[in-house]
Amino acid sequence: MIEFIDVGKTYSNNMKALEDINLRIEKGEFVAVIGPSGAGKSTLLRCINRMHDISEGKLIVDGVEVNSLKGKEIRKFRQRIGMIFQSYNLVTRISVIKNVLVSFAPKLPYWRKVLGLYTKEHKVKALTALDQVGILDKAYVRVDQLSGGQQQRVALARTLAQNPDIILADEPIASLDPVTAKQVMDDFTKINRETNISVIINIHHVEIALEYADRIIGIRKGKIVYDGKAEDLTEENLNYIYKGQTEELQSNEMEGKTDV
């Protein structure tokens, strides 16, 4: 369970990226976070695994108060949370399986870590994760020979191999074509259903968000402006998330005209 209590986040340049965030995400939910560019979606996600520190309030993940963690504890904590990026972030010069195995690296004894030797058990787990996302046959292929969709699946497998409780995905399909994007989203759904891992996904494609997520969180200028079931999201809600209030918009336009 993830719980935000009055969370605020101000970047060092005084940019207020999040404000008064109150949120509760239960285990096994599939949540999509939508909002215009610069709204604070990535910031929200990165606070959950402590890639960013929050500046106000409390953030509790599975009973752990995230901001109280230090050094080694943070790294231990992060191992339980998977994260997926728009740019896949794989080492393209090595094989698929080696990329997946990296998720076991922090758990290896020192000599194995230096030599990069994994145990058979780890290899089985990594291959199982690759099987789950349907690219088992590519296990020993170099990553730079895979398509974008396949690479994102490798990233997903790497995260699965971590055996996480939560998967955070920051615009995982933004660089994929529509068909591949759907396949990757299907993978997310499958994993969410089969393993009960919570999935929180930042996404720009509203239709896809509505199609796949159970719950939608709309963010605008660092504040949550919609939080509810995907079916309940109206055209009006969307307008508000992406363009601000209708009246506000009109008055802005008027001002714009008088300026000219």
Partner: protein, 270 residues
């Protein structure tokens, strides 16, 4: 082959699927490298002791080069200019001669056997170290800059020729065939269809080869093929290190300037 000696490991997944993992080649490569190192140490009488005991001597020599002997400059100008002239002449003539050489080495223009023979000669020319070519040239053309120029000329043909025929073989053949079909000769079709495609790269390669040639030319004097190498050899022989320092300083400045100018034009070409 390797996989037959070290069969792949079999990994069974919990769901019954079987994956074969090829054995890593890293251990055997490592063993071979270590062996090669040991053999090399034997063959070269490599001796860390000597290095630690006498290694500082090298820096003593460098220390003697600084400060360089400024008035030695007067002796340097002529051989330095000779070196530049040698590389310039060799590079220009070599680049020009590389065009027909590359033409006859391109298997998409001339017949396969002809191209193979031309390629063979080009690769032999490219393989012979410039200094060796220069040495042979001194026997044929006598001591002096001519021998050096010939050596650079030959190397440039081989180097530019190789890169050029690779370009030609990768060029778009559509327009070449079109021109041949309207009755142009092979050579003419090459001139109007292929040459414009490879021209910028050809010029850039020639410039690049000129840059490298200046460096090579600097040592050719050592075998009597003219240029500043002779002076270097003499001063080193006399252990006149401050003069050596001056020569090297001038050489570094010259090479640097030539590189910068050539880089400027190469960037424009691509």
């Amino acid at each position: 082959m390797y996989d037959r000696i070290f069969p792949p490991a079999k990994i069974t997944l919990p769901n019954g699927k079987i994956v074969y993992e090829k054995k890593s080649r890293a251990p055997i490569i490592l063993v071979l490298l270590v062996l090669a190192t040991i053999i090399s140490v034997r063959f070269t009488n490599f001796d860390l002791n000597t290095l630690f005991k006498r290694g500082h001597e090298f820096f003593v020599i460098i220390g003697q080069m600084i400060p360089p002997k400024w008035d030695y400059l007067n002796n340097i100008w002529k051989p330095l200019l000779d070196t530049i002239k040698m590389s310039l002449l060799g590079s220009i003539l070599g680049s020009i001669a590389a065009v027909p050489a590359a033409y006859f080495a391109s298997s998409n223009i001339v017949s396969k056997p002809v191209a193979a023979v031309a390629k063979f000669f080009l690769s032999i020319l490219r393989t012979l170290p410039t200094l060796v070519t220069a040495l042979i040239a001194t026997f044929i053309f006598g001591l002096g800059t001519l021998a050096g120029t010939v050596a650079i000329f030959l190397f440039t043909i081989a180097y530019v020729g190789k890169l050029l025929y690779e370009q030609i073989e990768n060029a778009n053949m559509g327009s070449f065939e079109a021109m041949e079909s309207i009755g142009m000769g092979r050579l003419q079709a090459f001139r109007y269809a292929i040459f414009p495609q490879v021209l910028p790269n050809y010029l850039s390669t020639s410039l690049f080869s000129f840059e490298g040639n200046v460096r090579y030319a600097a040592i050719l004097g050592y075998v009597g093929a003219g240029g500043i190498g002779l002076l270097l050899d003499e001063s080193l022989g006399w252990r006149d290190y401050s003069s050596v320092g001056m020569i090297l300083l001038m050489l570094i400045i010259t090479v640097y300037l030539i590189e910068k100018v050539s880089e400027h034009f190469r960037k424009k070409l691509i």
